[in-house]
């Protein structure tokens, strides 16, 4: 059962700067929701609030019964909220398999003693979750790279590995921070297809920040637009495309730049 994510009146202030100003939106269960806006609009700040990295100055974020603004990052993760990062945040020297196994952290239990003594319970756990990691790697298309250190992989593959790691948490809500940034058009299309198939096969909610309007319009069910920390529009993609406020703030040049 996937709960709703309800962001209401979230304000974040850094000293004098208002990064988010009373922002509200709702991610319906099982939908793909896009958060867009020009650079500095507060999208990444919003993600950091949702994942417990930043604390909101005021306002609330509810995921089902849980209040996310009062939680630490690992507590948010324990609720089944996974995220990826705008700049890849994998461990470059660890193999893809190890990076994905970290995604199983919240679902596994073995601690210092059982891992150090290699107790059978720890070993069984590693085998069981290793099998699931392989399934997810195959689903995302990085199965061949499992034994390779992440740092040696091309950028586009690393982006996929990061998505795979988030999926390894068996999330109920997936936060994707610019999943196709820096990719070529071929990779973009593949990643968009992948996101669609994640949503279809797992039925989870996805909230994504993305600059590529083509992708947003294609895969999002609803869109929230931020500008200078304020919500300026919220609705279906085609409504958003026609919204004069949005066109003025952000989409003004979409006709000229075919992306």
């Amino acid at each position: 059962m996937i709960p709703e994510l309800v962001v209401s009146d979230v304000t974040v202030r850094f000293a004098g700067l208002v990064a988010l100003d009373a922002v509200s939106f709702t991610v319906r269960p099982g939908s793909t929701h896009a958060l867009i806006g020009p650079n500095g609009a507060g999208k990444s700040t919003c993600f950091n609030v949702l994942s417990g990295v930043y604390r909101a100055t005021s306002g609330s974020v509810r995921f089902g019964d849980a209040e996310l603004t009062a939680s630490r990052p690992h507590q948010v993760a324990a609720l089944g909220v996974a995220r990826t990062f705008q700049n890849i945040a994998l461990s470059p020297r660890l193999t893809v398999r190890d990076n994905l196994m970290l995604g199983r952290h919240r679902l596994t239990r073995s601690g210092f003693v059982s891992a150090g003594l290699r107790l059978p319970s720890a070993r069984r756990e590693a085998v069981r979750h290793g099998a699931r990691v392989e399934e997810i790697a195959a689903f995302v298309g990085v199965a061949d790279a499992l034994p390779t250190p992440v740092g040696l992989l091309p950028y586009g593959t690393q982006k996929r590995v990061e998505l795979a790691r988030a999926l390894c948490m068996e999330p109920r809500l997936l936060l994707l921070d610019e999943p196709v940034a820096g990719m070529n058009s071929e990779e973009r299309r593949e990643m968009a297809d992948l996101i669609v198939s994640v949503r279809e096969s797992l039925g989870i909610s996805i909230l994504l920040v993305e600059h590529d309007m083509g992708i947003v319009m294609r895969i999002a069910d609803s869109v929230t637009v931020l500008d200078f920390g304020k919500r300026i529009a919220d609705g279906e993609p085609d409504e958003i495309q026609r919204d004069p406020e949005v066109i003025r703030a952000y989409l003004g040049d979409i006709e000229e730049s075919p992306s």
């Binding site: 990052p73 948010v76 461990s91 190890d98 995604g103 210092f112 948490m169």
Partner: protein, 362 residues
């Protein structure tokens, strides 16, 4: 190299290491046995600090303090409290962990170099206590360390014991105890590093925010690793006290902490093997220089005014640290892995025709 031949090579290397370690006390003189034992205790401590600094990215300059806790707790518990020595050793290690645990509210919150600076306080506080709490620590002159006694077997020179015509004194006996302790400590640390906690630790080092978001309670892990690492320090302290047979406060100073950092940097950050290699290197170097000081230029006899062997060793491994940082990311262990990758390629260059010959492969 095929998988099978790699296993065979690996097995052969380990076989040689194990056999050499077992026969060593039958051939080496006391001086080298003592050096080897110091290296073993250093290896245990270095594994501990590599868990903290190498694998988790948390600097500690205070590990000499935990060695002191282990060493003095062992002396106190066995001599003054009268616990059986093996029990005293175990409790000493636990006490070092408790000391680490008391510091863990700080160790969990500070990261990287900031923790390093905070741990300096442990060294100076510890030194003050060691010098002044005389009833407990014996003050400047330290205290004698009672020999370990395990199931009636005493790790001391008397009662005498002769094995294969070799008199087995304290050092020969301790040698095997040291090997066992080191092997167990290394195996445990390897299990931790390869398992779920190791992945969490590495991710905290590489990307703290990502670790948190993936469900790792970062502060709790930092504190936990600090406790584990201080227990390794305590164990190293017990070992070194048993070998040295006296615990003196001077030994557990700031320089010892720096030695440990030099070990893991030189050997290779973040791995058990790196810690052991670095510990052997840093422990052997001053002894080699002492032993052969008369044959070396620029190194004077101890006490004759010039650069003493101990100082020369510090300068040398200072240079080694700089060299490693500049040219050998991964330390000596990294160098070994790189050589292993390069050597087969050199062979192919030399015998370009021999590589693809499937018929002759069996």
């Amino acid at each position: 190299m095929s998988r099978r031949s790699r296993w065979i090579t690996l097995g052969a290397v380990w076989g040689v290491v194990v056999v050499a370690a077992v026969v060593a006390p039958f051939y080496l003189e006391g001086f080298w046995l003592q050096t080897g034992l110091f290296a073993m205790s250093a290896a245990v401590g270095a594994i501990g600090i590599n868990l903290l600094t190498g694998a988790t990215g948390q600097l500690s300059l205070g590990h000499a303090f935990f060695l002191a806790v282990g060493a003095y707790a062992y002396v106190y518990l066995s001599t003054d409290v009268g616990l059986p020595t093996p029990l005293a050793a175990v409790v000493a290690v636990i006490l070092a962990g408790v000391a680490g645990g008391l510091f863990s509210p700080i160790a969990g919150r500070l990261k990287g170099a900031y923790l390093g600076i905070a741990t300096l306080a442990l060294i100076f506080g510890g030194q003050h206590v060691l010098f002044n709490a005389e009833p407990l620590t014996g003050g400047y002159n330290g205290r004698a360390v009672p020999p370990m006694e395990l199931f009636g077997f005493v790790f001391a020179d008397s009662p005498g014991l002769v094995l294969l015509n070799v008199p087995f004194g304290a050092l020969e006996r301790l040698w095997f105890l040291g090997l066992l302790v080191l092997a167990a400590a290394a195996a445990f640390a390897r299990g931790v590093l390869r398992g779920r906690p190791g992945l969490a630790m590495n991710t905290i080092r590489d990307h703290e925010i990502a670790a948190g978001v993936m469900g790792v309670p970062v502060a709790r892990y930092r504190a936990g690793v600090f406790v584990l690492s201080s227990m390794y320090g305590g164990l190293a302290g017990v070992l070194v006290a048993l070998v040295f047979q006296r615990a003196v406060p001077d030994y557990f100073g700031f320089l010892l902490s720096l030695d440990y950092l030099a070990m893991i940097v030189i050997g290779g950050l973040g791995s058990v093997a790196g810690a052991v290699i670095g510990a052997v290197f840093v422990s052997l170097l001053p002894q080699l220089l002492t032993r052969y000081s008369d044959a070396l230029p620029l190194v004077a006899e101890p006490g004759s005014g010039g650069v003493s062997p101990a100082e020369a060793a510090r300068i040398l491994y200072g240079a080694a640290v700089v060299t490693v940082v500049l040219f050998l990311p991964g330390g000596l262990l990294g160098l070994a892995t790189r050589l292993r990758r390069v050597i087969p390629r050199i062979k192919e260059l030399r015998w370009p025709n021999s590589a693809p010959a499937p018929a002759s492969r069996r």
